[in-house]
Each structure stands twice: as structure tokens, then as C-alpha cells.
């Protein structure tokens, strides 16, 4: 199945290179404070950032009656490299476990309303749990090829549909003095996100997103279990204020 997603990403990359870009940019539209997920080119600014949180529901058939819903802080920053190329950094912090990712994405305006992007991020997560009965820590690396389609409505409501696949590798764990590592590079699953970015208050803009994460292993649940025997569905909500 992951071959399908490779082909999809390849399609996006080819589309991005062969598609004729929009003939003109809307110079009146300042995207700086309006888009972080939406694949809008960074023509007028060097930096964009947002701060917010995500909320995930753990799958009942795996975590059973332990239903954990702890908000995860979410800080994201974009740095312009060129009109269409951006560095994309993200920090998701939950104290006991945290996730960092850094990558690049290529943005292509197809028309004044339609935008595409393709990118790839490298992620690193780690967790530490030293409470009664636990003397555990774990970490791992991941790779996230991704692509998105954005549509800008007449009233500058930005709608983005994004897809991402993940590959995990170099999982390391320790319990007490015992250590374990798995160097295996494996396909972990995919994530689909629907995001809306819109005006909020005082000219600030808001990102609202819902994601469906289908993974064998998700870093936030590292202390509960290792890889599952099939992809598990994690619904996630993201709320962020674009700075």
C-alpha cells in the first residue's frame, strides 16, 4: 500500500514541476498572518509561525479503558528560502514526550485560488517516564513525505487537504538498566488532514484542523505499547493561532 503513496507523492512532484504557475500574484493579499498549513508562497516575508495545541484520542481497542486525552503544545515555523521553497519546522511538546521535525516544502500556485505543495520532513521524538513503577525512556526517528492541496475562497478562507506518510526507524527504549533498539526502517502509515485557516480576532488568524492518523506506532503512546499488529486510527484536532 505504501507504494501507492510513493506514486501519489511522485505525481505531486511532477505536477509541481510541469504545472504552469499562476500568471500573477494577488499583491493585495498578505499571507503572512493568514496561512501556516495552507501552501501559500512566502513572497513578502521571511518567517511565519503559529502556536497552538493538538488533541488526540487514543484508540479504545488498544488502550482499552485508559483513554488519554492530554493536549499537546504545537509550535510551527516556516522560513522562506525562495519564493516557492520553505523550511518547515515543528515542535510538539507534551512534557513526558516531545516531537521535533524539520523539513522543506515546495509550494506552487496553480491559479489565484488553487495551490499545491510537496515536501519531506525528518522527525525525532523522545519520551521519559520516571514515576512509580516506571523507569522508562524511548526515542525514535521518522521520515514524513507529504503533499497538500490548498483552495482559497472568495472571502480568503483557506482550505487545505494534506496527506502525509511516515517511515519509522532507529527506535530505542530503556527500562531500568535494560536497553533495546530496533534499527528497522519500516512503513508506519499515513495521516490525512483537513485544515481551515481564517480570520479570528484583532486581525489574527486561526488554524483549525482535523486529522485522521493511521499508524502502527504513534509517538504519543510510546509508554503504553510498542508497534501494533495493524494500523490504528487516531483522530486528532489541531487549533493554532497564527502569529
Amino acid at each position: 500500500m505504501h507504494a501507492f503513496y510513493h506514486k501519489l507523492l511522485l505525481f505531486f512532484l511532477i505536477a509541481l514541476t510541469v504545472c504552469k504557475p499562476a500568471a500573477s500574484q494577488d499583491t493585495a493579499f498578505r499571507a503572512k498572518h493568514a496561512a501556516i498549513v495552507f501552501p501559500y508562497p512566502m513572497i513578502y516575508e521571511k518567517w511565519r509561525s503559529s502556536i497552538g495545541f493538538t488533541l488526540l484520542t487514543t484508540p479504545e481497542d488498544i488502550t482499552e479503558e485508559v483513554r488519554i486525552r492530554i493536549p499537546c503544545g504545537d509550535f510551527r515555523v516556516l522560513r522562506r528560502i525562495s519564493d516557492r521553497l520553505e523550511l518547515d519546522g515543528r515542535v510538539m511538546f507534551q512534557i513526558l514526550q516531545n516531537h521535533f521535525s524539520l523539513g522543506a516544502r515546495y509550494v506552487l500556485p496553480v491559479s489565484e485560488k488553487l495551490f499545491l505543495s510537496a515536501g519531506d520532513d525528518i522527525g525525532y521524538w523522545f519520551g521519559i517516564l520516571k514515576l512509580s513503577g516506571f523507569d522508562s525512556k524511548a526515542s525514535g526517528w521518522a521520515n514524513y513525505p507529504n503533499a497538500s492541496v490548498g483552495y482559497r475562497t472568495k472571502k480568503n478562507l483557506l482550505i487545505t487537504l494534506a496527506g502525509q506518510v511516515s517511515f519509522n526507524y532507529n527506535y530505542q527504549a530503556a527500562n531500568g538498566q535494560n536497553k533495546f533498539s530496533a534499527k528497522e526502517f519500516y512503513y508506519n502509515g499515513e495521516t490525512f488532514t483537513l485544515a481551515l485557516e481564517q480570520p479570528f480576532v484583532n486581525k489574527k488568524h486561526l488554524t483549525l484542523a482535523v486529522s485522521g492518523i493511521y499508524n502502527y506506532f504513534y509517538w504519543q503512546t510510546w509508554s503504553l505499547y510498542y508497534r501494533t499488529n495493524r494500523k490504528v486510527f487516531y483522530p486528532q484536532v489541531t487549533v493554532a493561532l497564527i502569529l
Binding site: E64, E65, D135, G212, Y226, R230
Partner: protein, 416 residues
């Protein structure tokens, strides 16, 4: 669209292959494998075909279960790759031994048919002899395996190398919730009699079961606080299981694979009279007097002794509440118990066994302390293969509780 996105949830299952199509195995000329042929076959075998799927070695072990008037013997093979195993029944066809069953990988939903043979040139003549003794390279089990219900065509073969490892003292391979969780996609439900009868095939020598009380004080097996779709089929009943009498549960509730919720008595009867299991860990999931469970523990320990069965039954103390209820028993000090809490609590309750969580490591110093007191030490619930291997190789625990007893069995029996 957002609702569609978040509502998508695929239901997974593992195919239990149809193993009834092997003509040779179904032949009317087959007979049971002689009792004397089984145990000598047990051992560590090296794979000469199929290693890319299953790994380099396998641990082969027999088990049995009694259902009604029939005793069924199963040959299980435990692999080190992907928590794989196979489970086969065996028959004799003239001078050959046939084994028919299925394989499964617990890290995924992969499964398939497994058909194996030992023919005279590969050692069946040794096994069918009057006093079989198997030496290295003298017995080869060969056959084919497939995927799902596909006709098996991929070759697999393995040759006897050495005996199964055995510690000087008993090592307990304990199956969580009698065999595994619902999420492990096993063909029977957790905490059921069906699972108790199946668990020896997974390499289990003992089980952990979750004990709760119904509204009318009947001890039953059930893990969660509430009736929920993770464990039971849809019925009209919801909420805490303690809100219902046993008759209500028996009439209206079925576990996800259709079984009834068993009483503790039914479960212990099954263990004692229908399996070779030697250990039962009664995990106390209820708050309240323990006298009924203690009485049943005493009753079945006496029955086991009368039947000449080696069987231990311990009351598990996972919480302070359970510990305090246990201490209210008039003769708690002589009641076999397993304590998950601190070493001081183990002394306070005079528990036979200390059982910490695996997340604090092998804790060899503490295990030595416990052994010096004449107690045993178990660890729970160990599922990551890398840690299972380490705990068996470097640890001093007397038992490991796992959702993957086949994995514990592999690393224990393959230990050098």
C-alpha cells in the same frame, strides 16, 4: 468531509485458514501419533527452508487440551521473527507423521496454512520406534506453508539440533488474560474458557485471569470496569458489570467471539481437568471481601492435589485496596498470593510471589532479595521481543507474563 475523515475506521481481523483440505491428513488410513513419539520430537530445530519468513531456528513443543471425551494434541513451533508461531494437529499415515495446521505472526495480521511431514528417511522411523531417542540432525520436519486460505506452496523445513532449554527451577510462561487481548486478534475471546483451552498451544504453562464479582456475588472473569464493545457483543446491557447478576450476564451477554462470560469456577475447572497448565494468577479487579475467591482457591488446590496435578493458584494483589482486603482474611498469611506492590508489601502479606512491572528493568538485586526470602519473582506484562530476550537471558525472574506467550516460549526454550 471532516466527519468522513474522522469516522473512517477499518475493522481488522486475522484470517483463520481453512485447514480441512489436506487429503492425506484426512485419509481414513491415518491413526493417532503414538504417545511415546511426541516428547522426543520436542526441541530446537534449525530452519533449512523458510528462514527468510520465520527466522533461523524454531522451538517445537507439544501441548494438549481435553474437550468432552476427546483429547487433542497440538504441535506448536515458536519462532524468533515477528512473534511467529505455528500450531498443528498430528496424525500417522503408514510410516510417516503428518502435521496440519496454521501459522500466524503476532506483529501483523499475516497467517496461513501449514502442512508438515516427517517421512522415514527424515526420522519418522526413529520416532515410531519402541524407545525413540532423537540426536542432532536425525529428524527433519519438512512441508509447505501459504498465505491466508491460499493453497500452501512455499517450502519450509527444519532439522533437529538440540533439546529444549530447561532451567533447574520451574520457569513459568504466563499468558495475559488467559491467552492474549482482544486487540491481538486471536480466534477466541480474552478471559474465556475457550481461550484457557487454547492457551497451551501458544506455549503457556500458566495464565493470568481477571476476577470480578457480579451483583449477586458470583466471581467471574472479566477485565474492564464496564460492559463495552471491546469485550462483548452488542446487547441491551451497559455500564459497570457489577450492576448485573450472573443470570442476567449469562442470558444477555456474549463475549466478542460468542462465548459466555465464565465463572471463576468454570475457569478453574477447565484449567484443572482439561489442560496441562500449572499456574493460575487470579488478578483481583474488584474491591471487596475476598473470602469467596479464597474459598474457591482452597477448593481447587485440594482437588488438584487429589488428582495428582501440579497446580498453583495465587490471589493477585495489584492495588492498595486489594492488599487491604486481603489482609482482612483471617488466614491471609497462609493464603498463596502474588503482590505487585513494594517489597515491604510482599512481606506484609507473606505473598509467595513478588511481581513488578517490567518497566523498571530486570531488578536482579531485588529479585535476589526475594529469592533469599524463599519467594518467587514474576514480571509483567512483557511484550517487546527485544526486552523479552534480555529478561530471559540476563534476568532472574521465575516467570514472565505476556500477551505473547509464544514469544516468551521461544526465547526461553532456545536459551543456551
Amino acid at each position: 468531509m471532516a466527519l468522513c475523515l474522522i469516522a473512517c475506521k477499518k475493522e481488522y481481523e486475522v484470517i483463520m485458514p481453512d485447514t480441512s483440505t489436506w487429503a492425506d491428513f484426512n485419509s481414513t488410513q491415518t491413526t493417532p501419533i503414538p504417545f511415546a513419539s511426541r516428547t522426543p520430537m520436542e526441541g530446537i530445530y534449525g530452519l533449512t527452508a523458510g528462514a527468510s519468513t520465520f527466522g533461523e531456528i524454531t522451538a517445537i513443543k507439544w501441548s494438549y487440551a481435553i474437550r468432552g471425551a476427546d483429547t487433542t494434541y497440538h504441535l506448536s513451533g515458536f519462532f524468533g521473527t515477528d512473534i511467529a508461531y505455528f500450531i498443528c494437529e498430528g496424525k500417522r499415515l503408514h510410516d510417516s507423521l503428518l502435521f496440519n495446521g496454521y501459522w500466524r505472526k503476532m506483529v501483523s495480521t499475516q497467517s496461513g496454512i501449514m502442512r508438515l511431514t516427517i517421512n522415514p528417511t527424515n526420522g519418522s522411523n526413529i520416532l515410531l520406534g519402541s524407545a525413540p531417542v532423537v540426536d542432532s540432525n536425525k529428524v527433519t520436519i519438512a512441508g509447505v506453508f501459504g498465505n491466508g486460505n491460499d493453497e500452501p506452496r512455499q517450502p519450509i523445513s527444519f532439522t533437529y539440533q538440540r533439546k529444549l532449554h530447561k532451567d533447574p527451577t520451574t520457569f513459568h510462561i504466563l499468558a495475559h488474560r488467559s491467552g492474549g487481548r482482544s486487540s491481538d486478534l486471536l480466534p477466541v475471546s480474552e478471559n474465556s474458557v475457550a481461550m484457557i483451552l487454547k492457551t497451551p498451544e501458544f506455549g503457556s504453562t500458566g495464565i493470568e485471569i481477571d476476577v470480578r464479582m457480579t451483583k449477586d456475588g458470583v466471581p467471574i472473569l472479566y477485565h474492564d470496569n464496564n460492559l463495552n464493545l471491546r469485550l462483548v457483543q452488542k446487547s441491551g446491557l451497559i455500564g459497570p458489570i457489577e450492576n448485573y447478576t450472573y443470570d442476567q450476564l449469562n442470558a444477555f451477554v456474549r463475549l466478542i467471539h460468542g462465548e459466555r462470560i465464565p465463572t471463576l469456577r468454570e475457569a478453574l475447572n477447565a484449567v484443572l481437568y482439561q489442560t496441562p497448565l500449572t499456574f493460575v494468577w487470579l488478578d483481583t479487579k474488584y474491591v471487596g471481601p475476598m473470602d469467596k475467591v479464597q474459598a474457591m482457591q482452597t477448593e481447587f488446590l485440594q482437588k488438584a492435589a487429589a488428582a495428582g496435578r501440579n497446580l498453583q493458584i495465587v490471589i493477585g494483589l495489584p492495588t492498595e485496596d486489594a492488599l487491604n482486603d486481603f489482609l482482612k482474611l483471617p488466614n491471609y498469611a497462609s493464603t498463596p498470593a502474588l503482590c505487585e506492590l513494594s517489597l515491604d508489601d510482599v512481606k506484609k502479606t507473606n505473598a509467595k510471589i513478588w511481581a513488578p512491572r517490567f518497566t523498571e528493568g530486570t531488578q536482579n538485586a531485588n529479585v535476589d532479595l526475594v529469592h533469599a526470602q524463599g519467594r518467587l519473582a514474576f514480571v509483567w506484562t512483557l511484550d517487546v521481543p527485544g526486552f523479552t530476550e534480555q529478561f530471559i537471558r540476563e534476568g532472574k525472574f521465575d516467570g514472565i507474563l505476556s500477551n505473547f506467550p509464544s514469544n516468551v516460549a521461544f526465547y526461553y526454550y532456545a536459551k543456551r
